[in-house]
Amino acid sequence: MTEINRRQLLLRGALGAGGLASLPAILAACGGSGGIEGQSAESEAAAPASVDQTLAEKFVLSNWPLYIDIDPETKKSPTLEGFTAETGVPVEYIEDINSNEEFFGIVQGPLSQGQFVRDMAIPTGYAVVKLKDLGYLEQFDTASIPNLANISIPAPPWNEGFAYGVPWQSYMTGIAYNSAKVAEAPSVEELLTDPALKGKITMLNSMNDTMGVMLQAQGYSSETINQDEFDATLEVLQKAVDDGQIRQFTGNDYTGPLSKGDLFACLAWSGDVIQLQADDPNLMFSIPETGGGVATDYMCILKGGSVYTSSVFANYVLQPVQAAQLSLGINYISPVAASKAEAEKVDPDVASNQLIFPDQATLDKLQEFDPAVVNDPAYNEKFQAVIGA
């Protein structure tokens, strides 16, 4: 994040060095955060009628850390290498999405001024909705992605035919615990009230993850949320904060304290815990009886990115063999069900892991959080106030 900011700063500095003649340009650059009116209409107009069918000279992709397969020997990604080998397009791969909110903050300024940022980024569904509503996304050239047929999860209402976002991987939100410290998986209720866990648990700083699990524990739905249920649940959370029960609200950074034993249990993402288990078999992941969360990260084309190259890339990773390779490499859930059969050929153990290749019974315990609520500033403000800021 700092690097981008510095780059922007240097760019603006360079503009400044160009002399006072370019002052208007600097003023425009500084004012970037504001005027974005009237751009929402554009996104609807950007129909993929005539997509230029030439590949770009290079493909710039932003992703989360530890979210692509890496060959331990070569330290390179077989997925990216394979794509380049097949298409001749080199990939500039940037791991700079640490949270959807921060990433949005970084790209919003340049995108609002129509500047190229990346060809593709892989944010979570609700963040894709926000980018789409603001007119910051190009539509995929779905005609160039025959492998869309391999996708086994339904397209959400905002994403008919996966035109704006092609699923990359899904992840579950549940409870991670250190079995050396607590005998069995605590319930959400126990996390929030058990004196033995006081100051030894964390929740996630993303509203959809924490409130998704909390709402279900209160007996409410997290798929369609109403104000009163949300407020009642938030009060429970507020009480746990006031009591000092909850030590912190975290992003990915719960992993260190959990494996060190500073945390006995926490809200966590399935793939993280599986990766941690390799070093510490005491770490467990459980989907709460009351229900866990599921969310999907989508590949999307940022305004100005190459539509055709991005579509070809999406088509490439949706092949069952490629999808299996990716899921085996990063331990998250593939949107391509046929990848399980491919994974069995390579690693039957992992292929039978319910956290990576879940069956229907497991999926039934999970709910996807209401995207309208995530993007509603009023809900966000309430949640942020409880988590301390």
């Binding site: 500095g13 600097i26 912190q248 500073d262 942020q384 988590i387 800021a389």
Partner: protein, 285 residues
Amino acid sequence: MGYLRRHPRAVPYLLIAPGLAWLAVLFVVPLYYLVTTSLQSGDIYEGFRLTWQWSNYGDMLSQYRPQLVRSALYAAIATVAALLIAYPIVYFIARRGGQWKSLLLVLLVAPFFVTYLIRTIAWQTILADEGLVVGVLRDVHILAPDGRLLATSFAVVAGITYNYFPFMALPLYVALEQLDGRLLEASSDLYANSVRSFLRVTLPISLPGVFAGTLTTFIPAMGDFVNAQLLGTPKQYMIGNVIQSKFLVIVDYPLASAGAVILMVLILVGVAIYARALGAERLTG
């Protein structure tokens, strides 16, 4: 060059021009946008418009008073702590360091070549519940058996103190290094003991360093949010955390800007009072 010979009075203006341009581009213009943004209303979908929304300031002040007070308090404690720790060390290096002076100074500053974030995360390990420090403190009953350091106010203030330590140490060093040894000799010739010499000679002469050091420590410390986020809990969050969250998470640029302006004004007022109390004009000549 001919022009300059003919117009010698233009020289100072030409010399100051790059600095002025720098200030204009990197201070005045951003400040203008910060202040106008803080008076806007709207949201990210509809766009923000300048509506002279002064209530942004009222909202920030009333909703986030605890975080503002906490920021000032933490920054003040950390500044005093940094001063008390840095002064004896730097005094020793500057006055008694001899040929090792440069090396000792490098050693003092060397840890700060590591990036800020990594250093703060390192404190998570040092202060961990199951770590060595907490273990020893529990064994000697300074901490209760279930006591902890991490995720407490202590950890946050300690983190701030540590992270801004060089900003205190370096100005102090400059001040103490320049102290003329003959003044101390004169002082002892006049029968002052070492305590009296320190209080009447060394300390007053080093006050400009103390003044500079406390400012360069306090100002960034007040706006810090990393230490509270990594070493504290929501109960330790500072105004920097609020601004960060308003800006990046809630995407309410006007409120975030209002928070930043409030922080800036508070610091300016605080510094003005402090400078008055210490007689900065006398100090800085």
